[in-house]
């Protein structure tokens, strides 16, 4: 296992200590249990945006805590959902009186743990909503699976909703924005190599020297199919066209109903991208792929979106939602309107994403 670490059991804590040492101006790490909040304490009167998930996807989520993005993040063990008590403590620490929006990636563990956490926080009188992100089109149906995974869209959503919170959106409006953005975003990923979790020390899947894995998530889990490595043009075309031609996707997602005071399932249908849509294009490295190769992906992707009549209005290129040191990439296309673009352009000041002031 080739990693810059000490003992595998200490990895999370020590890396958090490093973050704390490096970014004391931006964030504050709590160690028992693990969560990260903004350095300045809760932001009065603004909805607190909280996210979390397994570690190993850095900079997501901890690196997105700061002005214009998250108010708190809960890191779990590597590739393992954090626990309700972390999320509950984080919600309490981040709540500025206007409630908490949990951004939850759609994995069985994350969804269940965040539900329990929301219940605990609501028992404390904090207003909480959970919005589940499920944008990975590699997962085809939701009837015979746990549903589409939450991947690349999460980063874009955390940025845009973060700006909306700064702008004063209330919990309901922010939840609606978050839900719409999730419905507007579609992603697909692939890997050239497997990653190795510190706990196991061995590749999460075996893969030949001339093979790639298509439709992977972000947890070192095998994808939906194995193939011979192709050229970046072929790979990018396959992914981009899959995203663009993805059919309407219908599934049920749980949200809290503040009227009925219980979890309800909302049936939602994501409509495909269509000619003339404005999109944010996000080309992401799985961690081990250098940015130079991402530009190779971007080049082909832009040619294809062009051909389909999509208009890329903004982009993000780099390692933002990773799988440890895995080589590979993902593409996310998210339809946006003018308000969303304005929110995207708004200042953000976090360890992982910075612009404006």
């Amino acid at each position: 296992m080739k990693k810059l670490i000490n003992k595998p059991d200490d990895v999370i804590r020590e890396q958090l200590e490093g973050m704390q040492a490096a970014h004391a101006d931006l964030l504050k790490v709590n160690y028992e249990p693990f969560y990260i909040t903004r350095a300045g304490g809760p932001v009065k009167g603004k909805v607190a945006l909280v996210s979390g998930g397994g570690s190993g996807h850095e900079p997501m989520h901890g690196g997105f805590v700061g002005h214009g993005m998250l108010h708190a993040a809960c890191p779990g063990e590597v590739f393992t959902s954090p626990t309700p008590d972390q999320m509950h403590e984080a919600a309490k620490a981040a709540d500025g009186g206007a409630g908490v929006l949990n951004i939850v990636k759609n994995y069985t563990g994350d969804v269940m743990n965040f539900e329990m956490a929301a219940e605990l926080a609501m028992a404390d009188g904090i207003k909480v909503q959970n919005i589940v992100i499920d944008d990975d089109i590699a997962v085809k149906d939701s009837l015979y699976t746990a549903g589409r995974r939450g991947v690349g869209s999460t980063v874009l959503i955390e940025k845009i909703c973060g700006a909306a919170s700064e702008k004063g959106y209330d919990l309901e409006k922010l939840s609606a924005l978050c839900r719409t953005l999730n419905q507007n975003g579609r992603s697909m990923g692939m890997a050239l190599t497997s990653c190795i979790t510190p706990g196991n020390g061995e590749p999460s899947f075996e893969i030949g020297d001339d093979e790639m894995e298509i439709g992977i998530g972000i947890h070192g889990e095998p994808g939906i199919k194995r193939d011979k490595i192709k050229s970046v043009d072929e790979i990018t075309e396959m992914m981009t066209v899959s995203i663009i031609e993805d059919k309407p996707y219908t599934r049920k997602l749980k949200e809290w109903d503040f009227g009925k005071n219980e979890w309800v399932e909302r049936e939602l249908t994501d409509e495909p991208l269509k000619k003339g849509d404005k999109v944010i294009a996000f080309v992401n490295s799985m961690g081990g792929t250098p940015v130079s190769e991402l530009y190779g992906v971007y080049r082909k992707m832009a040619q294809i979106t062009d051909k389909f009549g999509l208009k890329i209005v903004r982009n993000l290129i780099g390692p933002y939602i990773t799988s440890l040191e895995m080589q590979g990439c993902s593409i996310t296309l998210m339809k946006v309107d003018d308000e969303m673009i304005k929110l995207w352009d708004a200042p953000v000041y976090t360890p992982g994403l910075k612009w404006g002031k």
């Binding site: 994995y107 590699a138 999460s204």
Partner: protein
């Protein structure tokens, strides 16, 4: 009768068994999941083990609920809330008893199973722990109804669990991470089903 001391040694045995099988469970999860199930379960029961002293003075219900809370706050992933709910419902059902009749043992397992199903929405055949817990509970209920001793009933249930584990192999997963693999999940044994079997075996061990 399942005495409080049995329950305590069961919990302790769970820790031992999950420590022994940490790599085995993780390996199973590598094939169709994200390679952490053994680590998750081990982390949870190690925490339980460390706090073991604090369980001594509690009644059976409180012991099980306390185990549940520890699992919920230390396991994470899918198995954390699921096993957390499992022990929570068991504890709630057991109440402040100091010992349980065979029938009550079957009842708390039933409560645990229903909790898991409520939380995770999995049904038998989905290739999850429910595929072990369901035949186990049915076997227990059948045997205590038929008047078998607790040890006999649990011996039978262990066999049902073993069969349940084997039966997950040909299944296509429809819940949890393995479901993303679709057809490719066939031919692999479910890690959570396997840990459920180990937890039952630990109960059996605590009785001899």
């Amino acid at each position: 009768m399942l005495k409080k001391d049995h329950v305590l040694s069961w919990i302790n045995r769970c820790y031992e068994v999950l420590e022994e099988n940490r790599q085995y469970l993780t390996k199973l999860d590598t094939a169709i999941g994200d390679a952490d199930h053994g680590n998750n379960m081990h982390r949870g029961f190690k925490k339980v083990h460390i706090q073991f002293e604090t369980l001594q003075d509690k009644d059976i219900g409180a012991i099980l609920k306390s185990v549940a809370m520890t699992l919920i706050s230390s396991v994470g992933g899918a198995s954390g809330p699921l096993y957390g709910t499992f022990f929570l419902q068991m504890g709630t059902k057991a109440g402040s008893k100091e010992e349980l009749s065979p029938k009550e043992v079957a009842q708390i397992w039933r409560a645990g199973l229903e909790g898991v199903k409520m939380r995770g929405k999995a049904e038998p055949g989905d290739k999850t722990m429910v595929d072990v817990l369901t035949p186990v509970v049915e076997s227990l209920e059948r045997d205590v109804e038929a008047g078998k001793s607790l040890v006999e009933a649990i011996d039978q249930a262990v066999e049902a669990a073993e069969k349940g584990v084997q039966d997950t192999i040909p299944l296509i997963a429809r819940k949890g991470r393995a479901s993303y693999l679709g057809e490719r999940s066939k031919g692999h044994q479910d890690p959570g089903a396997t840990s459920s079997k180990l937890i039952l075996q630990a109960l059996r061990d605590s009785l001899s």
